[in-house]
């Protein structure tokens, strides 16, 4: 019995999502092999090998795998699948893109966004934007699982797994990477930040978002999130969206500013340890999930908040 964990990495660094998904993979009860695929990924493989719980790290290097596109990644994983009882990936944009392709090729029904591992074939997962939690048991011979990383702790450093090379698959020729536009930021990443401050439609413009939210984020060392309304209106980039169809986060502290608290937004943040809501409408649904609510105009109180935490 062995589990294959598909590592997620970017810019030569292993993502924290992988360390979290490793915790879920270990909970399945078998040895875990971590697959690191890409080009020039030796340093990533070394980071993976240093995680407690990784029994072995497998490295595949090829130009076609450099951007971890779904077609070659799925071909590689399916080639290797014979030796594994379970295939796991974090439910990140990459994991969600690649793993269902693997599942269909293996004729397996994937279990998406697992929030708890009950045993090697039984899992909990949210449905209806987190309004219900379903426990499902898979009857498939192999399990293909994506893991909601916000509910698992990162595996600790301290391991020393062996690293082995695996041959790259034949080129699929189906898709080609044609460029990317990544947001650059010195701030902590949304999905691993301890503190997040998010802005909603109330911000009114990209300039105001920058002017009012960013200084507080800097003062708190926080990551910045946004509601879909704020993203749609162009006040914030798409990768800041928190919610059912954006990122799911669970920081120690989540500060929602000028966000009404639509169910689709709550789906992405209601597992935060402490929630603060700042909204001028005392009836806003966000107050129903907030530990601390401040009924106020955000443009008035956020500068004070910045001053108070500095």
């Amino acid at each position: 019995m062995t589990t294959l964990l598909v590592a997620e990495h970017a810019g030569g660094e292993l993502s924290d999502a992988t360390a979290k998904a490793l915790t879920a993979a270990v909970a399945l009860g078998s040895d875990v092999h971590v697959l690191v695929a890409g080009s020039d990924v030796k340093p990533v493989a070394e980071s993976a090998a240093a995680l407690t719980g990784a029994a072995k790290v497998l490295v595949t290097e090829s130009a076609e795998l450099a951007n971890q596109l779904a077609e070659p990644m799925a071909a590689l994983i399916v080639d290797m699948a014979g030796g594994y009882d379970a295939i796991v990936a974090p439910a990140t944009a990459n994991g969600k893109n690649i793993l269902p392709r693997v599942a269909a090729l293996l004729d397996v029904m994937q279990i998406s966004d697992v929030t708890a591992v009950i045993d090697a074939e039984t899992f909990e997962r949210p449905i209806y934007a987190g309004n219900a939690i379903q426990t499902v048991k898979s009857g498939d011979p192999k399990k293909v699982i994506t893991v909601r990383t916000s509910t698992f702790a990162s595996a600790e450093a301290g391991g020393s797994a062996a690293i082995e090379d695996v041959a790259a698959p034949a080129e699929t020729g189906l898709s080609e990477f044609a460029g990317e536009e990544l947001s650059k930021s010195d701030r902590p990443e949304l999905t691993s930040a301890k503190i997040i401050i998010s802005g909603g439609r109330a911000l009114g413009s990209e300039e105001k978002f920058q002017e009012v939210i960013m200084p507080v984020a800097d003062a708190l060392g926080a990551a910045v999130g946004a509601s879909r309304a704020a993203v749609d209106a162009g006040y914030a980039p798409n990768d800041w969206q928190v919610g059912q169809t954006g990122k799911v986060v669970a920081p120690d502290l989540y500060i929602a500013c000028g966000i009404s608290g639509a169910i689709q937004h709550l789906a992405g943040m209601k597992d935060s340890k402490v929630i603060v809501a700042i909204n001028k409408d005392e009836e806003a649904p966000i107050f129903q999930v907030a530990d601390y609510g401040l009924v106020a105009d955000l443009f008035e109180v956020l500068p004070d908040l910045k001053a108070a935490v500095e």
């Binding site: 599942a103 029904m109 309004n131």
Partner: protein, 249 residues
């Protein structure tokens, strides 16, 4: 080329979902049902490609009960040319839906299939990727822009760090993200016209697909609910509580 758009009938996104007290599932009796929001975006994108002269016909298809006809009519009223209902009362999982769609693709031979990235009921986010796998096609998931050429399609994808562009060989699969477009409303004349557009009826058997679920639902429960906390009167009080009561600052 033809464009195929799978559309799912789901609980309307404004409805507050309730779990049945016996834990057997979610209460769907007498609740408003609508087309999955991402599928409206998929229909819109297909229509725009047709209006731009890049597609000849837009076919909407739904796998579900008889009432899924209403969802197809919504797509037809937006402007799709015809519909296909694959009738089943079973709860269908993405793998089975993808297998049925594969059968339809083989019969219709579209150049592009545009699906929603995720159905807002099961939140699976799988069907498009699975269909691409079964057909051996390229996939452009979570699309925020689709640029259709003669032999390839460029898709801008929403990924965790920002945006990524991929060039896919046609025929291909695209799944929509929210920012791809703003779907149109159907006008009254178009709603009337849609009533006359053809809807073909099929069954999973016609495609040799066994829809029995692979996953057994053991239980469905309400999530642990959060208690509303307290209102604070000032920033000073808020910061004090965060430091001394919650210990998060």
């Amino acid at each position: 080329m033809k464009i195929l758009v799978p559309v799912k009938r789901v609980i309307d996104y404004n409805v507050k979902v309730r779990v049945k007290p016996d834990g057997s599932g979610v209460d769907l009796a007498n609740v408003k049902m609508s087309m999955n929001p991402f599928d409206e975006i998929a229909v819109e994108e297909a229509l725009r490609l047709k209006e731009a002269g890049k597609a000849t016909e837009v076919i909407v298809v739904s796998v579900g009960p008889q009432q899924a006809t209403e969802t197809l009519r919504t797509g037809l009223a937006m402007g799709a040319d015809r519909g296909i209902l694959v009738k089943t009362d079973a709860t269908t999982e993405p793998l089975a839906v993808a297998k049925i769609l594969k059968g339809i693709v083989e019969a219709e031979e579209p150049g592009l299939v545009i699906l929603g990235k995720q159905a807002i009921d099961d939140d699976c986010n799988q069907t498009g990727q699975m269909l691409a796998a079964l057909l051996g096609w390229a996939q452009g998931t979570f699309a925020s822009k689709v640029d259709l050429g003669d032999d390839t399609v460029d898709v801008i994808r929403e990924v965790d760090g920002g945006l990524q562009t991929v060039k896919l060989k046609l025929p291909a699969i695209v799944t929509t993200d929210l920012r791809l477009n703003e779907p149109r409303y159907a006008s009254l004349p178009n709603i009337m016209k849609a009533k006359k557009k053809p809807i073909d009826e099929k069954t999973p058997d016609d495609f040799g697909v066994d829809v029995s679920p692979r996953l057994t639902v053991v239980s469905t429960v309400e999530p642990a609910s959060r208690q509303a906390g307290v209102k604070v009167d000032s920033v000073a009080e808020l910061v004090d509580k965060l430091k001394n009561e919650a210990g998060v600052l």
